[in-house]
């Protein structure tokens, strides 16, 4: 009888994680689902929050990210999924930290990214999408806004002790700001300290290589991959 109860409880936990995975995977279908309630249930039942994160939330997000990469899912779905994960993480994160502390697990900071749109440009849609996705994947993201001068990028990166600077440009006339940032970092001897990732509609891989950037991504899902690789 007891063994059965235990089994039922285990099944329940697995089902709940599976359910969260389904919710994140299909953000269009269940947009009205109350994610906060589900996460509170997770805590109430004492389910391992790291399990919930890796095998539920992030698994769902990875799946929709992969579909997005293949052209089978759309931006609002990807962003919808990211939003669900973000909401869930607000409740789950303290639990994860608590668990790590109890079990003596590593408390190392995840990658720190300073991100902004270059000077002369106030387009921020692409930058916002990338920032949201990076945050959702657990990176510490400091969005320093639009029309950001090179010196501000560097000052903020130093201030937050960042690993990566992400710069976005939409206008072909402001592309050169990305080049200027890398040149300035070299001049100041900081090129080795921060990795620079570039993005924006007119940006190509060729341009990224030409100016000596460390990474380039075509879309938000790729941006997560590029940043993860650079941080490892």
């Amino acid at each position: 009888m007891r063994a059965n109860e235990k089994l039922t409880n285990e099944m329940y936990k697995i089902n709940l994680i599976e359910e969260l995975y389904e919710i994140v995977k299909n953000p269009g279908k269940v947009s009205k689902e109350n994610i906060e309630k589900k996460i509170e249930l997770v805590i109430e039942k004492g389910i391992n929050p790291i399990d919930v994160l890796n095998n539920g939330l992030l698994k769902g997000l990875r799946e929709i990210g992969d579909r997005f990469g293949r052209g089978d899912a759309f931006l609002p779905e990807l962003m919808g999924a990211a939003n669900i994960v973000e909401k869930a993480m607000k409740i789950l994160k303290p639990q994860i930290l608590k668990l790590k502390l109890e079990k003596g697990l590593s408390m190392k900071r995840s990658g720190v990214i300073v991100i902004g749109t270059v000077q002369g440009d106030i387009h921020d849609l692409g930058k916002n999408i990338v920032a949201t996705m990076l945050k959702t994947y657990g990176f510490e993201v400091y969005d320093i806004g639009v029309n950001v001068p090179v010196d501000t990028f560097i000052a903020k990166a130093l201030h937050f002790n960042a690993n990566i600077i992400g710069t976005s440009a939409l206008l072909t006339t402001t592309l050169y700001e990305q080049k200027k940032l890398i040149e300035t970092l070299r001049e100041k001897g900081l090129k080795g300290r921060f990795k620079v990732v570039v993005g924006g509609a007119p940006i190509t891989e060729e341009w990224s290589k030409k100016i000596g950037a460390d990474g380039y991504a075509e879309n938000a899902v790729e941006a997560v991959k590029v940043v993860s690789e650079l941080i490892e």
Binding site: P27, G28, S31, F74, M79, G80, I129
Partner: protein, 488 residues
């Protein structure tokens, strides 16, 4: 897509006075000049109904009262029943349907790309493809098979459609035997119910022979359908400047006279028979005498035809989307769009020959079927129009985002983007570098892949076992009859 959900009527070329003028000009022609009828029984039907018939000259003059009575008797709308009731088509009102290319003798081979004779296997493939495409209303055979005896083509065409699609079915009219065989198939599909008039599950199309003639063979076929209460599309294919006046208005008058004379005959034989008022008229190219399928005037004639049909409260049929181009080039694309978009925005109820046709309507391209179907998506989107209600106005959403934010993460976007935006699948919308990375393909190559995918994966719903058995028996019967006849 719910096949009956597409409604609309956005453009008109004729004013109410123009329509009246065309109507009275038509009555003048029918009363004073009349039509030449080559079918003996039809002449008698006309005479019995009160027309002035000269059996020597075969000229039938139709008094205006008779024309107007016949219009009165014609149903304003009806349902064309499909094997699958979810795919029944409502005809009339302001509902718009898209039917594929019809009976083209040639096809561009999917593998070699070369133009060749169409075969029975193409009939099967194309019926399956038409069945799989959501915006296509019926799976009429896009090609005419040339690897079967000519005298059996009609029955194989019906077999291919019936077995590979549960959408609506069209029979053929060319001669009494073909009409009777087609109607027998309709009975088999109706599971033996011989009262087809209650739930018409097959319609046929008659082309008037311009100017002002009613052909013996086709009228004979039409009478078979009409006697059973099965709907008939009455269509004209006038080449403006050749078999009709060079003016569009004159073409409309002539066309109207031809259609209305058929309507008078049909209503004289069986009052209340559902009919469709139709056109595939266009202008003649004065350099080579070809009918130009890709002409903008064809689109305009479609719209005017729909206006006249609405005036008479009879469902309308148009034809648009064929192209005169021989290859999948820009001409093929623009002629498709210019004719079909105009016709569709004009609210034609049943648009035939919409997808797949190339080469003056002589050939079908597999790739073009799916490309055209994608373009239909844009046209459908335009017809759906712009929804304006509190949810669509999104005032709360705009307020909640405010200046400088973005709408991508808002649930309103997730909720609405697929409903409000038509998202093409074959069109390339990538940046150059991404397009290059994906193989730098042209739309024709992507279309070919989509066709291959459908042919590999799509399984149409099979016929009920008993229906299939009966159909097989009947096809066998027609084959034996044909062998005996040819043996004579």
């Amino acid at each position: 897509m719910d096949l009956n959900s597409l409604k609309g009527q956005y453009i008109e070329f004729l004013s109410r006075k123009d329509i009246d003028d065309i109507h009275y000009a038509t009555l003048d022609i029918l009363k004073n000049i009349g039509v030449k009828v080559f079918h003996r029984t039809a002449m008698k039907n006309f005479a019995d109904a009160g027309a002035d018939v000269n059996f020597e000259t075969q000229i039938v003059k139709i008094p205006s009262r008779l024309v107007e009575d016949a219009i009165e008797k014609t149903p304003h709308e009806f349902i064309w029943h499909a094997r699958n009731p979810e795919k029944d088509l409502k005809m009339g009102g302001n509902i718009i349907h898209f039917s594929p290319a019809a009976l083209c003798p040639f096809i561009y081979d999917l593998e070699t790309g070369r133009r060749r004779n169409a075969t029975y296997s193409d009939c099967v493939n194309l019926s399956r493809i038409a069945d799989s495409l959501e915006r296509i209303s019926d799976a009429f055979c896009m090609v005419y098979p040339q690897d079967v005896p000519e005298s059996l083509a009609h029955i194989y065409i019906l077999k291919a459609i019936a077995e590979n699609s549960d959408k609506c079915i069209r029979g053929r009219i060319n001669g009494i035997q073909i009409a009777k065989d087609s109607i027998r198939v309709a009975e088999i599909l109706a599971k033996g119910d011989k009262n087809l008039a209650d739930k018409p599950n097959m319609i046929a199309l008659i082309d008037a022979v311009s100017p002002l003639q009613m052909d013996d063979n086709q009228v004979g076929g039409m009478i078979e359908y009409v006697k059973r209460g099965l709907p008939v599309i009455i269509a004209c294919e006038i080449t403006s400047g050749g078999t009709g006046p060079a003016t569009i208005a004159g073409t409309l008058v002539l066309q109207n006279a031809e259609i209305l004379s058929h309507i008078v005959l049909a209503q004289a034989i069986r009052p209340g028979t559902p009919l469709i008022y139709g056109t595939s008229s266009s202008v003649m190219d004065m350099r080579n005498a070809n009918l130009r399928y890709g002409a903008v005037e064809l689109g305009m004639i479609n719209v005017a035809t729909a206006q006249l049909a609405r005036y008479y409260k009879i469902p309308s049929r148009g034809a648009a989307g064929f192209t005169d181009s021989k290859v999948l080039d820009m001409q093929a694309g623009y002629e498709f769009v210019i004719t079909l978009l105009i016709a569709a925005l004009g609210g034609v109820n049943l648009l035939l020959q919409t997808v797949g046709g190339l080469d003056l309507g002589m050939s079908v391209s597999y790739e073009k079927v799916v490309i055209d179907h994608e373009i239909l998506g844009s046209i459908v989107r335009a017809i759906q129009g712009i929804r304006v209600d509190p949810e669509a106005l999104a005032v709360d959403v705009i307020k909640s985002i405010g200046p400088g934010g973005h709408f991508l993460s808002h649930p309103h976007t997730l909720e609405n983007f697929k409903k409000e935006h038509f998202i093409p699948v074959l069109a390339d919308t990538d940046k150059y570098s991404i397009w290059e990375k994906k193989g730098g393909k042209e739309i024709k190559e992507r279309a070919k892949e989509q066709v291959q995918k459908i042919l590999q994966a799509y399984e149409p719903k099979p016929l009920d076992k008993s229906v299939q058995e009966e159909l097989d028996l009947f096809v066998g019967e027609v084959e034996r009859r044909d062998i005996l006849r040819r043996g004579d």
